[in-house]
Amino acid sequence: MELLDSLPFPPFGYEEKNGRLHLSVPDDMLRPLVSHLVRKEEGELSNLYYVPNENKVMALVLVPRHGIVVLESELEGEGYPSLTAEVPAANWYEREMMEMSGITPLDHPDPRPLHLHEWPRHVHPLSSAFDKTTKVPFTGEAHHFRKVEGDGVLEIPVGPVHAGVIEPGHFRFSTAGEPILNLEVRLGYVHRGVERSLEGCALNRALRLVERISGDNGVAHALAFCQAVEMSNPVPERAQLLRCIFAEMERIYNHLGDIGGMATDVAFAVPAAEASVLRERMLRLNAKLTGHRLLWGSVAIGGAARDLDEERKDLLEGAMVELGLAFEPLVDSINGSPSFLDRAETTGALSLPMAKDLRATGPVARASGWDRDTRRDFPYGAYERLGFLVPVRREGDVLARLNVKVEEVRESISMVKQCLDHLHAGELRSEVPAPEGFGLGLVEAPRGELVHCVHFKDGKIIRYKVRDPSFCNWPTMERAVLGNIVPDFPLINKSYNLSYAGNDL
C-alpha cells in the first residue's frame, strides 16, 4: 500500500486483515505515527484504548482515501508518550485509559479523571486485577474544574439532575454577565461498566446488552456488534437490506425528535407539536413492523431477526410516502419563520478547523463543512448499492445542524424506498463461525460514526471497546458554546443532542 511508503519510518511489522492495515509499532513511535497519519494523510483518530490481555495500546485511524489503519503497540513499561499534545482528539481517550485501565500516557497535559467520580486513583475497573464484585468506596475527592478568574466572573453549576426527562450530566459555566467564557462538561453519572460486563459474555446476550447502551441508537449499536462478530463473513442480501431499512428508520425517528426538540427549546410550540406527532407516528410504525417502538431486537448475528412480509412492506412504503408529504410543511414552517431563524443562525457555531482538531463526527461535523459519512466513505452492508447524498453545510451553527438533519431525513426516506425496491425473497440469516482475534464494527449511527472494537479469544469476548459518536462530540460542544449567551445554551445542546449513556458506558 502506498500509505506504507509514505510513513516517516517503517513499522515493526504489518499485515492486511479483512481489508484493514494492521501495523505493529513500538510504544514510543505511536505518537509520531498517529500524528503523521492525522496531519499529513488527513486521517482521523477513531479509537484509542488498552487491551490488558495482550498488554497493547490500540489506535484506530481512518484514512479516507486509503482505508482503515489499526496501530498496535505493545507497552514496555507502565506508560507511553501521550498523543494529546499533537493530536488533540486523543485527549478524552487517554484520560479514559488512565482511570479505566491504569495506563499512563506520559506528559498528558490534563491528567484529571474523566468519567469516574470519587474513585480511588489506584483502582482501575478495566484492568485485569480488578474484581467485578468488589465494592469501591467513595473517596470524597472533589473534581477540579477549569477555573476562570477575574472581576465579575460567575461560575454557574448546572445539573447533574435537570428539569425535564433527560439524562444526567453536569455543566460548569464560567460567565461574565450572560456571555459564556468557559464550559466544562462533567459526565460519567450513568457509567454502568458496560465494557467490563461484556467481557466473557455469550454472544447473543452481548447483542441484547449492546442494543441497550444508548437506547435510541439501539439498531446502530447492534449492527456494529454484529459486524465485529461477523468479521467479513457474508450476510444474506435480504438481511443486509432489512438492516439498512431498520438503521434508516432509526435515523428518521431520531432526527424528527431533534427537529421538534429544537423548536420546543425556543418555545416555537406549533411546529414542535407537529414534529412530535410525526415522530410518534414513526414509533408506532416501528412497533407494527418489528414489535418494538425503538426497533430493538430486529438485528441478529449473521442477518436480521425481523422480516417484512408483503403486507408490512406496503405499510412501510405508504408510511414513507406519507412522511415525505407531511415533513415538508413542517420544514417550511420552521425555516420560514424569522423568529426561529433569528435564534438559530450564528448560535453555537463550530468552526471547521475546530471540528477537525477535536474530531467531530456525524451531523455535527457535516454542519461544520466536514464532508464525512461512514456510509459513503467506508461502506458496509447494503449502502454500497444505494444512491444517496451526504448533506454538508458550512456555517456550523444551530441552523446548519438542523438543516443537515432535515436533509438526512429526506435521504433516509429515499434509502428506505430504494431498499424496499431491491428487497427480494431470500435467506434471513446465515451461520457465522465463532469469531477469533480482532473484530471491528463501523457504523454511521444517527449521531455519527459509531465504532465497536472487539477482541475475541476462543470465541469469547476478552476486551470490548465501544466508542459512541457522542464521546467525540461532547468536547466539540464545549467549544461551540464559547461567546454565546447562557440562555442559548439549551438550544445548542439540543442541536447536538448527544447521548450521555453512550458516552459514559
Binding site: 428539569a163 418555545a267 416555537f268 410550540a269 406549533v270 423568529s339 435564534r343 439549551p490
Partner: protein
C-alpha cells in the same frame, strides 16, 4: 365613600381573584388547540393552586425571613391593584386609582419578586432576577408614557375618570393616540407577564428562564401565592388595557342593568385578550435575550408616538 361603593369594590376584587386562574387556563387551552392537542382543562390552574396550598413549604437555608414574606407582599400588591383599577364600573374606585400609583404598585410587585429570586441563593434565581430587571427597565417608562398619553386626552391621571371620559365619548373617542398607546401596552403586557417571545411560561430549561427562574426556590403555599399573584397581574394588565383604552360597556353608574352589562363586557374583553395572547404565543419563537430590548424599544417608541400624536394632531 358609600356602603354600595365599598360593596362594589369588594365584588370587583373577588371577581378578579376568581377569574384570574381561569384566564390562564384559557390561554393554555387555546395554545394546546393550536398544537392539535387536547390540553389540560381550563380549570387546571385552580386545581394546581389547591394542590400547592395543601403542600408544606421548603425554604433554602440561605434565605432570610424576607423570603417567606415576599409572597404575601406580592399577592397583596395585586389585590391592591384590583381595588385601584376600575373593573366593571367606573364608580367606586374614583379618587384612589391614580395611574402613577398603579405603575408603582406594579413596580413594588416586581421589586419584591426580584428580591425573592435572589433570596434563595441559587444561581438560577439570580439570573432570573437580573434578566427581569433588564426587561423592566424599559417596560416601566413605556407603561408610564402610554397611560400618560390617554391621561393627556382626558385631562386626568385618575384611571376611573379616564375610563369614564372615554366611555362617555363613545366611538368619537377613537383616535390614533389610542391605538398607538394600546399597541405599546399590549407589548408591555407580553413582556411584564413573561409570555412568548419574552419568556416561555411552559419551559423547564432553567438556563433560559426569566420569571420562572425567580420562582424556582418557592414551594407549597408560598408558590401558590406567587403563582396566584402572577395570574392576577396578567388579568390586571388586560383589565387596564381594556378599561383605559376601550372602556365601552363599562358601568358608569350603579344600576343593576348597567352593572350586568359592565360585567358581561369586561368578561368578553378579557376572553378576547386571552385568546389573542395565546395566538401571538403560538406563532412566534421566543426571542434571543439580547434582542428583547429591540422589541421593547419599539413599544417605547409607539408610546412616545402616542403622546406626540396627541399634541400634533
Amino acid at each position: 365613600m358609600q356602603l354600595t361603593d365599598l360593596l362594589l369594590t369588594l365584588v370587583e376584587v373577588l371577581f378578579i381573584l376568581l377569574l384570574s386562574p381561569l384566564l390562564t387556563g384559557v390561554i393554555r387551552k387555546v395554545k394546546s388547540w393550536m398544537q392539535c392537542r387536547q390540553g389540560p382543562s381550563v380549570l387546571q390552574p385552580y386545581r394546581d393552586l389547591w394542590k400547592l396550598l395543601r403542600k408544606s413549604t421548603v425554604a433554602s437555608k440561605e434565605a432570610s425571613w424576607l423570603f417567606l414574606v415576599i409572597p404575601y407582599v406580592c399577592l397583596g400588591a395585586m389585590v391592591c391593584l384590583a381595588v385601584m383599577v376600575p373593573v366593571f364600573t367606573t364608580g367606586p374606585s374614583g379618587g384612589v386609582g391614580d395611574m402613577v400609583a398603579v405603575i408603582y404598585v406594579l413596580g413594588l410587585f416586581r421589586f419584591m419578586m426580584v428580591l425573592g429570586g435572589l433570596e434563595g441563593g441559587s444561581s438560577f434565581g439570580g439570573m432570573g432576577s437580573s434578566r427581569e430587571m433588564m426587561i423592566s427597565a424599559i417596560v416601566e417608562p413605556t407603561l408610564l408614557l402610554s397611560i400618560f398619553s390617554v391621561a393627556a386626552i382626558s385631562g386626568t391621571t385618575d384611571l376611573s375618570a379616564i375610563s369614564d371620559h372615554f366611555a362617555g365619548l363613545g366611538l368619537n373617542g377613537l383616535s390614533p393616540t389610542l391605538f398607538l398607546a394600546s399597541a405599546a401596552i399590549f407589548i408591555s403586557l407580553m413582556a411584564e407577564n413573561s409570555r412568548v417571545p419574552f419568556d416561555n411560561p411552559a419551559t423547564h430549561l432553567e438556563l433560559t428562564m426569566v420569571h420562572e427562574g425567580m420562582l424556582l426556590e418557592y414551594s407549597g403555599r408560598e408558590l401558590a401565592m406567587m403563582e396566584m399573584a402572577s395570574y392576577v397581574r396578567l388579568t390586571m394588565f388586560m383589565v387596564i388595557l381594556s378599561n383605559v383604552f376601550f372602556p365601552w360597556g363599562i358601568a358608569l353608574g350603579t344600576g343593576a342593568g348597567e352593572l350586568a352589562v359592565g360585567v358581561g363586557s369586561i368578561a368578553l374583553k378579557l376572553l378576547a385578550l386571552s385568546v389573542s395572547v395565546a395566538l401571538v404565543e403560538s406563532v412566534m419563537a421566543k426571542m434571543r435575550l439580547f434582542r428583547l430590548p429591540n422589541l421593547l424599544t419599539i413599544s417605547f417608541t409607539l408610546s412616545l408616538l402616542a403622546v406626540m400624536s396627541y399634541y400634533i394632531l
